[in-house]
Amino acid sequence: MENLKKFEHLLQFKEENKAITVAVGMSGGVDSSTVGYLLKKQGYNVIGITMKHWSGMDEYATDSNSKSCCSLDDIHDARRVCDDLEIPHYVVNLTEPFKNIVVDYFIDEYAKGRTPNPCMVCNRHIKLGKLMEAALKLGADYVATGHYARIKNGLLSTGDDPRKDQVYFLSQMKKEYVKYLMFPIGELEKPQVRELAKALGVRVHAKRESQEICFVEDGKYKEFLDTMTNGKISKAGNIILENGTIVGRHEGITSYTIGQRKGLGVSYHEPLYVLKIDSEKNEVIVGSDDKLFRNSVIGSDINLFTVDTVNDLNELQCSAKARSRDRLHKGYVKVLNDKEIEFISEDMFRAVTPGQGLVLYTEDGVVIASSFIK
């Protein structure tokens, strides 16, 4: 097959691989499915493993038009891919820990006026936590995923294109688990993955990918929060300027995030942006665009990779991101105490959002440490 020539290096069979068992985290999507194919071609002993983490709020409304990951359809797709590969497939039920650790955290953060990053929490505790542990208990030597990421010297690193950064979401994972990880398609960008998948005959090669939070159907997280809290989380309140002037009303702070301009329903002589959310007073504080910029960010719940203690980060020159799609900001770290750091940037961060990840990188894209913005 002509199409496969450029991917030859990924399809090399190695005799010694036969003695190695790799569990592939199968989501039913094109990335992880392609990984399954590659590893099998490379000669590994492959097992497919899928986690059942959420059955949805309405058990049988698996509407084909709603897009959230790991619905019944996705588990079915993962199973069928494993059938095609003739590898065993196991579904690990993690619905209880997922609810307690990821979903409840998600709800609590919004209640506190923060914007949670559930993927970071899930990757640490569930995916590269409990699911990985389940894989290792199956006798797997490694766990492979479809992430666009690399492992450099036993450390997490971004792919060639730092703009497509998936390690940001992986950055809260435990350092000691990195040695079990494999990213077989970590150097391929999405269009290449689909091309390879099609050439290999992967049945889900054209499947649409979920862009939203996996447990919130169609990205309707306000409805989700209302349903899960019986409406308690949404209370109407005031939209105010920094000086206290009331400029509008909101229907619940959960509809807002820092830097947001749309949906304020406020008419003012200049564009207004969300600067701060005060959950105690149930207020959304707005102001002009220039107020969104700052050159320092404080992070807590620090997860370390390249150093052993938080104090080792002091004075460290590195780059940081305060959002997954942020560009890299050069600067240095100031350790505030053994649980908090402050990153001082040479340039400005825009719309720093409490609850999001503050992740530190080396010049080469290796993750130094990860924290949550205070």
């Binding site: 058990e59 049988y60 409304a61 698996t62 509407d63 084909s64 038009n65 019944l72 359809d73 079915h76 199973r79 069928r80 059938d83 065993p88 497939h89 196991y90 579904v91």
Partner: protein
């Protein structure tokens, strides 16, 4: 004495290829498909592949097919499942007077739960009137259930137009395709069909397996509770060998669908011409321009269908009167009554349904015997 089987609308002989495949599967895939282990996964794989095969021929998604024990169960699931999800009371269903008893009896039952039912009349050919259908629709109409091809007279309803009406009014459209699937080529999505019942034993597949197509987004509650099988739509350990047989039978049926219906039509038309030529006072029921290729419903004046059946059986020929479900009773066919037959006419009507194993010799012999039997019948009835 050779058996001449002309009752294919009641059921069909299983295809040898289907039977052999089912035997293999029964032997090799015995674990419960819900089991986690390798053997369970093996059974599940057969089921998944079979489902995908059937879905492919219908051009629907495999997750939209739910396996049931029969066409009757599929009909029950369609009607009861929709009503259950919309809480019964005050809901209105439109259907027809010529539906299969599994629809009519279920509708009767649902009326006790507070569901309102309108049964449309048919003309003397068995066609419903689309204007009447439109007039019958009201704000409380939740479901319209129409038999695609009638099992007794073969008349085919215009489900394309009905589908358009349902779509425009946002009403769930159920089609009983038990007799038409595998014989008429059509695609549910093109006709705006939301629910569709099929049964394997009508097209040389095994008995004991049917399916309900449920288009994505159609809210329906399960009626057989217990486990989460069939996407939580139908509890019960899946009948793997029968499902496999269903898929194989579907494959075979579709491979000959055009050629075979053409062949059967010619054979049936030949048979009817021969009968009309040789036996006086015989009329054909149904829409002669628009009916299944293999069905022939004949009213034979001055002769009792029951007696004809018995006598033909003594001569090794199998046909039916009314439909198989109502045999064993002396009730005249509700379908024929709906056409405007009186009881006497209905009791003088037989149904001959051809299949792929029938040939010209069968037909020639049948007509010859029918002639003799009818003559004998009529002579005797003159005496009594």
């Amino acid at each position: 004495m050779k058996e001449i089987y002309l009752d294919n609308s009641a059921s069909t002989q299983i295809d040898t290829e289907v039977l052999e495949y089912m035997f293999q599967i029964t032997k090799d895939c015995y674990a419960n498909p819900s089991s986690v282990h390798k053997l369970g996964q093996k059974s599940r794989r057969v089921m998944d592949e079979s489902r995908e095969t059937i879905a492919m021929f219908l051009k629907v998604k495999s997750r939209e097919l739910i396996f049931t024990s029969s066409g009757s169960e599929a009909n029950n699931l369609a009607l009861r499942g929709i009503m259950k999800s919309t809480k019964y009371k005050g809901n209105h269903i439109i259907s027809t007077k010529i539906e299969h008893s599994s629809i009519l009896k279920t509708l009767e039952d649902l009326e006790k739960e507070g569901v309102e039912v309108t049964l449309l009349d048919v003309d003397k050919y068995g066609n419903i009137n689309l204007d009447e259908l439109k007039k019958a629709i009201k704000p409380s109409t939740r479901l319209i259930s129409i038999i695609h091809a009638n099992n007794e007279i073969g008349t085919i309803q215009d489900i394309k137009s009905i589908g358009e009406i349902c779509k425009a009014k946002n009403i769930v459209f159920h089609v009983d395709a038990v007799q038409s699937f595998g014989k008429i080529l059509f695609y549910p999505e093109e006709y705006n069909i939301n629910l569709m019942s099929i049964a394997a034993h009508k097209f040389y597949g095994p008995k004991g397996i049917g399916a309900l197509y449920i288009s994505s987004g159609t809210k329906l509650e399960k009626i057989i509770t217990g486990g989460y099988q069939e996407r939580n739509r139908r509890a019960g350990t899946e009948n793997i060998p029968a499902i496999a047989g269903f898929a194989k039978a579907t494959e075979l049926a579709y491979s000959i669908i055009h050629a075979e219906s053409q062949r059967e039509k010619e054979l049936r038309d030949y048979m009817e011409a021969l009968i009309l030529k040789n036996i006086p006072f015989v009329t054909i029921n149904g829409d002669l321009n628009n009916r299944l290729s293999n069905v022939s419903s004949l009213t034979i004046d001055n002769a009792m269908a029951e007696s004809i059946l018995f006598n033909l059986d003594l001569r090794g020929i199998c046909i039916s009167a009314g439909s198989a479900c109502s045999s064993g009773t002396l009730n005249p066919s509700h379908v024929l009554l709906a056409l405007g037959h009186d009881t006497k006419m209905a009791k003088s009507s037989i149904r001959v349904s051809l299949g792929k194993f029938n040939n010209k010799e069968d037909i020639d012999e049948f007509v010859k015997q029918l002639e003799l039997v009818v003559e004998q019948e009529r002579n005797l009835s003159d005496l009594y």
